[in-house]
């Protein structure tokens, strides 16, 4: 593989790792604040899965670029993080968090199924391992959206509002940067645009079962993949990076 290509693979692993890192960050904020103790535990579980995925992906990227997983996780500037806007949205209420997790994990399941077939063996292995995890997230969040949608009047309203509010951040999942397209053509990256139809199917089915309406506004936000984030991202990073910025070059 050429050096340029290796660099592109590192960028790709970093991009995927950023999604996992920020998903994990937000999920971890629930760890003692969820509606029941069982859900505290479940949310920590999901958070741990994503943090684990981030570690593997950053480690792989670092092997190519000569960095550590923590260099990559902690020592970049906001615009160098390429996570989807969806991942950085705040937790708000349980409904919002479940909507986020559902939309993302429905995507992630389809994504990792394809990544398993990557010509890059490391990415394929990470895909295989991660698939099991996101399948659980998908089931967990699906069940919750059904409970909320088909629970009480209040929960139905909140779930619908959550779906409506999160919706505009889902389109970005199916967009490709140029370097991703190149890698996809080589069978290394996943062409995420091809996952949209299947994702729509999963979403439509779940929303129907949950007695929730698919939002009509199809205008989609983007920017995260180009490093243009929401105002939430800077606050995430000021906490995430604080120790590494204050105490550079230490062992922890």
């Amino acid at each position: 593989m050429t050096d340029t290509n290796r660099k592109a693979v590192a960028d790709y692993a970093t991009l995927l790792g950023d999604n996992a890192l920020i998903m994990g960050h937000r999920l971890s904020e629930w760890c003692y604040l969820a509606p029941t103790l069982e859900l505290d535990v479940a949310m920590s579980n999901c958070a741990l899965d994503y943090i684990g995925q981030a570690r593997e992906l950053f480690t792989y990227a670092g092997e190519i670029t000569g960095k550590t997983e923590d260099d990559i996780a902690y020592l970049r500037d906001e615009m160098d993080y390429r996570n989807l806007l969806l991942t950085e949205m705040p937790n708000n209420d349980w409904g919002y968090s479940m909507a986020k997790l559902f939309f993302f994990s429905a995507f992630a399941k389809l994504f990792y199924e394809k990544l398993m077939q990557s010509k890059d063996e490391t990415l394929a292995a990470i895909g295989e391992k991660s698939l099991k995890e996101v399948k659980y997230h998908l089931r967990f969040s699906s069940e919750w959206l059904i409970r909320l949608g088909d629970g009480t009047e209040e929960s139905h309203e909140r779930a619908q509002k959550a779906i409506d509010d999160v919706w505009m951040f889902t389109g970005e999942m199916f967009t490709l940067s140029d370097f991703e397209r190149d890698l996809a053509e080589q069978g290394i990256a996943v062409d995420v645009s091809t996952l949209k139809a299947d994702w729509d199917g999963v979403v439509n089915e779940l929303l129907a079962e949950a007695t929730l309406k698919r939002p009509e506004n199809d205008w989609m936000q983007s920017g995260g993949k180009q490093g243009h984030h929401s105002e939430y991202m800077g606050h995430i990073l000021s906490e995430l990076q604080y120790m590494q910025r204050r105490f550079p070059n230490c062992q922890w």
């Binding site: 760890c31 003692y32 103790l37 859900l39 535990v41 920590s44 741990l48 902690y74 629970g151």
Partner: protein
């Protein structure tokens, strides 16, 4: 009286009491109080450590910390379940906590201020908890005793992780070393207080010992903890903040200075810096989650009704 006699004989013979067995009301009450307090402690103890999840300085440490807090939630669940075998529901126990009628370990009313605190909590706080729990694992009530056996294993793991975190800092920069010393300075005395008042001031202890709910006295356990911990502190290269702490050849134990019981009672009685914060956080998340729990119940009932209609 006959029943009570048989009960005590069973206890004396080291036969575990099970949920369906007859037991004196006072035994049941003491156990529920103790177990619910223990469960609440696991749950409230998630907060000080949770304060550092978003700021953990490496991904590895973040994962370890999160997994640890998750375990604490699991322990809470496990002990609530064991306590429910005695006829008090988790909802009731939480209500008592929120009403200020049930306690949790005072140690969690101290703030986690630095990253080193995450290590110190693992090493000293979990260390003290384990010393206690090893003894509780030999207690007379079966479900609690079995819960303790399982929990002790995980806690020992946490304690080692905490110590390892501190070791890493102690081998790091001067700033990191200073962070360890400062943290231990704050947590040493509160850790000793975790074993409760001195034997001479400890109410109910005699009966609890007789019922084998308690197997060792507060002071005994505290001494065990100190004896085990001092060499670990030496290995870390830190000083424990007690000028009177020294090896006593005669007794074969470490002597220690006087504990500030006024502070202990103040913190227990709501005057710690974090008491209000901890309780309001727990109450708020519980209230914020009410609609979710209601939705789950409503959905389950609908499903049940559907099934019955179909049957």
């Amino acid at each position: 009286a006959q029943l009570e006699k048989q009960f005590q004989e069973k206890i004396d013979a080291d036969i575990k009491v099970e949920a369906q067995d007859w037991m004196p009301e006072a035994y049941r009450k003491t156990l529920v109080r103790q177990m619910s307090q223990h469960a609440h402690s696991e749950v409230i103890g998630m907060q000080p450590e949770g304060n550092w999840i978003t700021r953990a300085p490496s991904l590895r440490r973040k994962a370890i910390l999160l997994a640890k807090i998750q375990d604490e939630g699991g322990h809470g669940l496990y002990i609530y379940c064991a306590a429910e075998t005695l006829g008090t529901s988790r909802a009731e126990m939480i209500e008592q906590l929120h009403a200020g009628k049930a306690k949790y370990s005072s140690i969690f009313n101290y703030p986690a201020l630095t990253w080193a605190d995450i290590g110190t909590i693992g090493w000293l706080v979990d260390g003290a908890a384990i010393t206690n729990q090893v003894s509780l694992a030999k207690g007379s009530y079966g479900p609690y005793s079995r819960a303790m056996i399982r929990i002790c294993k995980e806690e020992s793991f946490h304690q080692r992780q905490g110590y390892e975190l501190l070791l890493t800092l102690a081998r790091g920069t001067d700033e990191q070393k200073a962070m360890v010393q400062e943290s231990v300075n704050r947590f040493w005395w509160p850790s000793l207080m975790m074993f409760g008042p001195s034997d001479k001031d400890s109410a109910h202890s005699a009966q609890s010992m007789k019922w084998k709910i308690k197997r060792k006295s507060n002071d005994q356990l505290r001494q065990e903890f100190i004896d085990a911990t001092v060499p670990q502190a030496e290995f870390l290269g830190i000083t424990l903040p007690d000028p009177d702490l020294k090896w006593n050849e005669e007794t074969g134990h470490y002597d220690h200075g006087e504990i500030d019981w006024e502070e202990f009672h103040n913190v227990i009685h709501g005057n710690g810096i974090c008491n209000k914060q901890r309780m309001e956080t727990h109450i708020k998340s519980h209230e914020d989650g009410a609609w979710v729990r209601e939705a789950a119940t409503a959905y389950a009932e609908k499903q049940k009704a559907k099934k019955e209609a179909a049957a």
